[in-house]
């Protein structure tokens, strides 16, 4: 792993905005404000939004631009203490016991101390996140919290309010400096109010056309200017339809990238229909777009862009 040079957290909202855009994350002022507050007040940031709007990316960008370590905890149903916080290395512990026995030691206290020492402790993400040094606290990303079950959520309450973990055999481990916590959820389940109350909440929405165009410009720099404008305009219109799953920013970037790879400089009906699988992932939605709505939108896009160019 390369050496990290921790930087200080930004002092104003404008600095936060610069920090993000320096790392090619085009954020709106609302997001910069809540991010700044979360860094300033040392509160976890709770990001909710549809899939593919760049929630996880915020944590990555933050870690990268602040020069902090990124610790990621991917949540899933049944996530428990032994895979989220710590686990003992049982096999090694058993060998230790046998070794001590073979050496003829019988002191119970000493053995217990040896067996339950840091040496046999396997650190999982939560424990890892609590070991940040002063001024270099890691970014702790708790990804897709809605996938975990309520029991884990209740456990998180304790971590997020005190930033400490108790390992019964070892004692309490407390963070020197609390980590920068970012929680993301896709809303496949409501998260309990008690947890939300400890965090700063932000709903990450789809970007507006100008911001999305800027995102495409930065993420797919080789894309043709006209193509990017058409792509963004097409997707913005697509989002206004009542589709089962509208494309997110991730899909916009993918699509712009895919079309650039195909050496396209502008959209045409055949290309849209060939590459629609990059944007829409449900058969019903695809069928709807192919049945003419796609053509209609494309026509509108072309008309608007040529009107704007004049």
């Amino acid at each position: 792993m390369s050496e990290l040079k921790p930087r200080k957290a930004p002092e104003t909202i404008d600095e936060t905005l610069d920090l993000l855009s320096g790392a090619d994350y085009v954020a709106d002022r609302a997001l910069a404000t809540v991010l700044f507050l979360s860094l300033r007040m040392k509160r976890p940031l709770f990001l909710e939004g549809e899939a593919g709007v760049g929630k996880t990316e915020i944590a990555k960008v933050l870690a990268q631009s602040l020069g902090r370590r990124l610790i990621r905890l991917q949540c899933y149903e049944g996530l428990d203490v032994s895979s989220a916080v710590y686990e003992w290395n049982y096999a090694a512990q058993m060998i230790e016991i046998r070794m001590e026995e073979a050496a003829g030691k019988v002191d119970r206290q000493a053995m217990e101390k040896n067996v339950f020492s840091e040496r046999y402790l396997i650190r999982r993400p939560v424990l890892d996140a609590l070991t940040g040094k002063e001024g270099a606290a890691p970014v702790f990303l708790i990804d897709e919290l809605d996938r975990s079950d309520e029991a884990f959520e209740a456990f998180l309450l304790e971590i997020l309010s005190d930033f400490q973990v108790t390992v019964p055999e070892l004692g309490t481990i407390k963070a020197e400096e609390p980590p920068i916590v970012i929680i993301t959820t896709n809303r496949t389940r409501e998260i309990h109010d008690a947890l939300k109350r400890r965090c700063l909440y932000h709903w990450v929405d789809y970007p507006d056309a100008a911001r999305e165009l800027e995102i495409v410009r930065r993420k797919v720099p080789e894309a043709n200017k006209r193509l990017s404008a058409e792509v963004v305009s097409f997707i913005q219109k697509l989002r206004r339809l009542e589709l089962f799953k509208v494309p997110g920013v991730a899909e916009t970037i993918d699509w712009a990238g895919a079309l650039t790879e195909l050496d396209k400089v502008a959209l045409d009906p055949a290309t849209v229909s060939d590459t629609i699988g990059v944007l829409l992932k449900y058969q019903d939605d695809i069928a709807r777009i192919e049945q003419g709505e796609g053509r209609r939108i494309l026509k509108e896009v072309k008309a608007e862009l040529s009107a704007a160019a004049e």
Binding site: R29, T33, M111
Partner: protein, 411 residues
């Protein structure tokens, strides 16, 4: 840094006062804003050292809003409360490091009265709507074509009914009602080794003996999502199944309640009220389409699009209570049912119309829906809640197979 001059600029703590008032306004508008978040809001405003109306807006938003649904309420309240531009500008000036405003001290009452105005305006706005007199109409087996919006008043639940309901629910066991989780519990008869417990035990004896310990996966009720029809043709049962839903919500974790007639309403939060009468009163004020027409296809489409991904996770069982009498075209209905069935673990259709012995799946809506349900259950005599749970309780047998109803029946 913009934060420094603040302590000198706000000896009378007017910002704090205003934020407290603002929070109170939000609370009146139905948002959940506790004292802790008010304290946080003040801290946040101090930390951000606001420079513009926009920053101030988002600073308060970050702390006071904790649900996406509340965004609109916040937005409206913010506009109303801080509508006096002068007030906000004055507050902003107090934050400004260059111009600590002294004028502001000469007329504190003016600002306060404006705030009070904003407060009362908000208050008036949220007064309960006038009750609409109820017109009772028995519309069984009819499908009304117009969207009727009307209120509904439920008779209070008697103590006997309450006890009855609780008992019925506690006896109720839905089929396929347990899912295995990836968590474990200690179990002497389990089939998996529990190394953590073994080490703990071994250290008790100083490691002399390491005895095996076992565990097995824990089982849980999956989330239950209820979609109940409250249209005119179902109106005489509405009270019973609302009681049922309330008792169910109290008894089990993770119950989501939706009702639909011509539109879809989420009643989950209302049903969480401990008192059944209060819960029903709240439900009655939220739902606008009691005893109106039915648009099963449209409302299911709305459910699929907006809610299915939010509530159908983790192996949810869907309980659909409707008579299946669809007003609109049934082409979309079949598709939406298919999607619903494919996004949940089990789809159970409970149909009160089945109490008539001669029921046949002739209505177009019923025929469109039947192929896409896992179970089709009848309520033969829906006069009390116990009948409802009895019908859900019955073990899986051949007569719940939906295909049975699609085949032409031998007389």
């Amino acid at each position: 840094m913009a934060v420094a001059p603040l302590t000198s600029a706000s000896p009378d703590g007017r910002i704090a006062d205003n934020i407290v008032y603002f929070a109170r306004t939000l609370r009146k508008a139905g948002m959940r804003v506790g004292p802790a978040s008010v304290k946080d809001a003040i801290e946040a405003v101090l930390a951000a050292g606001i420079g513009s109306r926009d920053d101030f807006y988002w600073t308060l938003h970050a702390v006071l809003v904790s649900r996406h649904e509340d965004h609109a309420t916040f937005d409206e309240a913010f506009r109303l409360f801080w509508k006096s531009r002068e007030l906000l500008e004055k507050l902003l000036a107090m934050f400004s490091p260059v111009a600590p405003d002294n004028r502001e001290r000469q007329k504190p009452r003016a600002a306060e009265s404006r705030v009070a105005d904003a407060l009362f305006e908000g208050h008036r706005k949220h007064q309960p709507l006038q009750e609409i007199p109820e017109i009772e109409m028995d519309a069984r087996l009819t499908v009304s074509g117009t969207e009727l919006l009307r209120g509904k008043d439920f008779a209070q639940m008697t103590a006997a009914e309450l006890a009855d309901a609780k008992q019925a629910i506690s006896r109720l066991s839905l089929p396929f009602d347990m899912v295995r989780t990836r968590r474990y519990r200690a179990d002497p008869a389990g089939r998996r080794i529990d190394p953590r417990a073994m080490m703990r035990l071994a250290s008790r004896t100083g490691g002399a003996v390491i005895l095996p310990r076992f565990r097995s996966p824990r089982e849980l009720h999956p989330p239950l999502v209820v979609l109940a029809d409250i249209s005119g043709s179902m109106s005489q049962y509405t009270r019973i199944f609302l009681h049922f839903l309330h008792a169910l919500t109290e008894k089990r974790r993770r119950v989501h309640t939706f009702v639909f007639g011509t539109r879809l309403t989420n009643l989950t939060r209302q049903m969480r009220h401990r008192d059944p009468d209060e819960a029903l009163a709240e439900a009655s004020s939220v739902v606008k389409d009691w005893s109106g027409g039915t648009r099963i296809g449209d409302t299911l489409a709305e459910f699929n699009r907006l809610w299915s991904r939010r509530v159908l996770g983790q192996g949810a069982v869907v309980l659909l209570i409707t008579d299946g009498l669809e007003r609109d075209d049934t082409a979309g209905l079949s598709q939406e049912m298919e999607r619903l069935q494919k996004s949940c673990r089990r789809l159970i259709w409970l149909n009160p119309l089945l109490r008539f012995d001669g029921f046949e799946a002739r209505a177009r809506g019923v025929r469109a829906m039947l192929p896409h349900v896992d179970e089709f259950r009848a309520v033969h005599n829906l006069n009390a809640l116990s009948d409802l749970s009895a019908s859900l309780d019955r073990p899986l047998s051949r007569d719940v197979d939906p295909r049975l109803w699609l085949e032409p029946r031998a007389a």
